[in-house]
Symmetry: C2
Subunit: 81 residues, 2 copies
């Protein structure tokens, strides 16, 4: 089983990296981009045979306690068999 965890800056936090990418895209003449936000992506491979409920609880705990800085970041995740 795999877990995809997406960590993004909270809406209220300035995303300088994302703004730099957006500015660069405009300068390079790419069309139609209003805004860019950049975040992190983690692909966790879980041990075989782990039960779905336990996996969900453990990934939630890891995302919350380790992968995310709760002051400035939010996370979402999804499990995949």
């Amino acid at each position: 089983m795999k877990a995809h965890v997406y960590v993004t800056l909270k809406r209220t936090v300035l995303d300088a990296q994302g703004q730099t990418v957006a500015d660069a895209l405009r300068r390079m003449q790419y069309q139609g981009i209003a805004d860019v936000r950049q975040g992190k992506y983690f692909l966790l491979t879980l041990d075989d045979g782990i039960e779905a409920g336990a996996a969900k609880a453990e990934v939630d705990r890891i995302a919350r306690e380790v992968l995310t800085n709760p002051v400035i970041e939010d996370f979402t995740f999804r499990l995949e068999d």
Copy 2:
């Protein structure tokens, strides 16, 4: 319309950052994690009224030409209304 772009290191490329996270999780007694790969996540907000086919083509081009280093990285993306 929003585009979610996920950029990951190719399978064959050593992911030192992901391995460090995996080692840290093991040291901290989190259970059930076999492997971690770390990547980047971009959330592109597209201009209103852009047509889905054009959006798909432009996001594909941006991901391929700007957001990804094709020597060591792969990308996937999905569009969301």
